[in-house]
Amino acid sequence: MTVNTAARSQVLIQKEPDSLTRSRIRPFDLLMQGLSVLAGTITLFIVIGLLGYILVKGLPQVSWEFLSTKPSALNGTYGILPNIINTLYIIVLTLLIAAPLGVGGAIYLNEYARRGRLTRVIEFTTEALSGIPSIIYGLFGMMLFNNYLGLGYSILSGCLTLSIMVLPTIIRTTQEALRTVPVGYREGAAGLGASKWHMIRTILIPCCKNGIITSLILSIGRIVGESAALIFTAGIATNLPVNIFTHMKTSGATFAVQLYQYADQGRNEVSFAIAAILVIIVLAINLATRLIGEHQKAEDR
């Protein structure tokens, strides 16, 4: 036995005298490493190419006139002022509906509800809501708000539909923010005799203000980019508002819906101009959430 082992190790040593220091080329490693580098490069290329292409092709088309007029079939000019107003309108109205619901829901889940079947059901349905594609929201909104409740193609019904859509985003982000508030804060408030609502109002909400704002900004991103759900609910009209309050009962297209309309009609230059504006909004939203994140980190320190 002993002789045998010794002999074998002798053979091994002779075969690869410096196997510990010299690394052999391994085809598997090389292949995998190469593929990873390739994939990373492709991904980077896709993102930069996509954004660059849109900005280069679209930005030259954006002019003050384009931003400040409404489209005119008579003069053959395009303007997106109605779309800007509609988009802002829909953002504000949707958040007015969804923010209290979402933040309230998160607070209920985190502060009031006991862990159990109900919270599990709520969390499951919230997940489900975020998985439902926008076209289903569109169909649903059309049936419930447009037809059943008689709102017709209107900005209001678009907002109601979108507020269901952004609800999971707001709930989840707010919940995460609530979880970072130390338990000691809650106990301290309770120890000082504060009631639950008082504690939520004066301690929890100020503490997770950044989280709530982030959730709203993320929702804005979703609203600005949404098209399938809005085509069926808010419609495709491009009228300037006559009255700021009755405007919500009329149909109105946002940026994304308008982009699709123009692309469908083959007016690609106008589509690209709108796409460039959308990309800039997306970039701004990305930057904003990042800044808030850093602000939060600085605060925590």
């Binding site: 690394s23 391994r26 598997f28 490693d29 995998m32 593929l35 990873s36 580098v37 994939a39 990373g40 991904t43 980077l44 896709i46 993102v47 930069i48 996509l50 954004l51 292409y53 849109i54 619901l101 309230g104 829901g105 607070i107 209920y108 502060e111 009031y112 509800a113 709520i122 349905t125 919230t126 997940e127 809501l129 998985g131 439902i132 594609p133 926008s134 076209i135 289903i136 169909l139 049936m143 419930l144 269901i164 609800l167 999971p168 709930i171 009631s195 991103g221 600005v224 980019g225 949404e226 399938a228 994304a256 982009l259 699709y260 692309a263 690609n268 796409a275 959308l278 990309v279 997306v282």
Partner: protein
């Protein structure tokens, strides 16, 4: 409590306490309503999808609807078969997964292990940006750039094909796959990797044979999320799929379940319109199944931990 205190302030105190309790109760109820809002929404959506989707199926017949191969709703002898759309949606999603998952997986590995931290951070922000880009933009660029390219390369008259749609969908699910994979790779304990190195494996072998296997359930979650996103995507592929209800063929124009609804909703009426809602119901059932699968995986993952 004995009656030694003067009566008046106690009455005031209890009044204040009663008011406070009332506020507490009201807020409690308000928060509860907010809490169950999402449950109510899901219930309402399910209810309405079923209510509006079933009449057409009843009239056409479930078998004819699901397995009919011809879609001609406006013909004099209307046909309502959505099998081509169902198959297109399934094949298109599978294609997107086949292209998107390897790309996303390798990108995630590249970001996590094989690149300096700064470049990795840049890539992560790039992928996050990609996630925020509206689907209409993907459709627009696909239509203007990718379609002609595909038409040129494969020498076909129109680039609006299933292949183009798959590529667009693959790019769209990329952020989901990458970010979920990165999260799960980061959750793999360092000891696994160290142990693998100590056993003599090279770093790259350790990453691919150890860490990726350890992060398997997270990666599968990402894939299922990607499937959900791809199967429900509408506005991007309506511009690149050509919108003809053919059986799935890589180099032909096709119509997905989602695009079928959008492209005909504006001029449909009667049974035609109802059948579009039925397509919505079929899509909804697909999404529901995907959600159930996701939930099971997540639960299993939680148990494993």
């Amino acid at each position: 409590m004995t009656d030694t205190k003067p009566a008046a302030p106690r009455a005031g105190l209890s009044k204040a306490r009663a008011a406070k309790n009332a506020v507490e109760l009201v807020m409690n109820i308000i928060f509860f309503v907010c809490g169950i809002a999402s449950v109510l929404c899901v219930a309402a959506i399910t209810f309405y999808m079923i209510i509006s989707g079933t009449p057409a199926i009843k009239e056409i017949g479930l078998w004819n609807f699901l397995f009919g191969t011809e879609w001609a709703p406006t013909a004099s002898d209307p046909k309502f078969g959505i099998l081509p759309m169902i198959l297109t949606s399934i094949v298109g999603t599978m294609g997107a997964i086949l292209i998107g998952v390897p790309l996303g997986l390798f990108t995630a590995v590249f970001i996590c292990y094989l690149t300096p931290k700064k470049l990795g951070k840049l890539l992560v922000s790039a992928v996050e940006l990609l996630a925020g880009i509206p689907s209409v933009i993907f459709g627009l660029v696909g239509m203007i750039v990718l379609s002609p390219f595909i038409a040129n390369v494969f020498k076909i008259p129109s680039g609006a094909t299933l292949l183009t749609s798959m590529l667009v969908l693959a790019v769209m699910i990329l952020p989901t796959i990458v970010s979920v994979t990165i999260t799960s790779l980061k959750a793999v304990p360092q000891e696994y990797y160290d142990g693998s190195l100590a056993l003599g494996a090279t770093p790259v072998t350790s990453i691919f044979k150890m860490n990726i296997r350890a992060a398997k359930s997270g990666i599968i979650t990402g894939i299922v999320l990607g499937v959900g996103r791809a199967i429900g995507e509408t506005m991007a592929i309506i511009m690149v799929s050509g919108n003809v209800p053919n059986m799935p063929n890589l180099f032909k124009s096709v119509r997905f379940l989602t695009t079928g609804i959008v492209s005909e909703m504006s001029y449909s009426a009667g049974l035609h319109r109802q059948s579009l809602f039925s397509i919505g119901l079929v899509l909804f059932i697909f999404i529901f199944i995907i959600n159930l699968i996701l939930n099971t995986i997540l639960k299993k993952g939680a148990k494993d931990r």
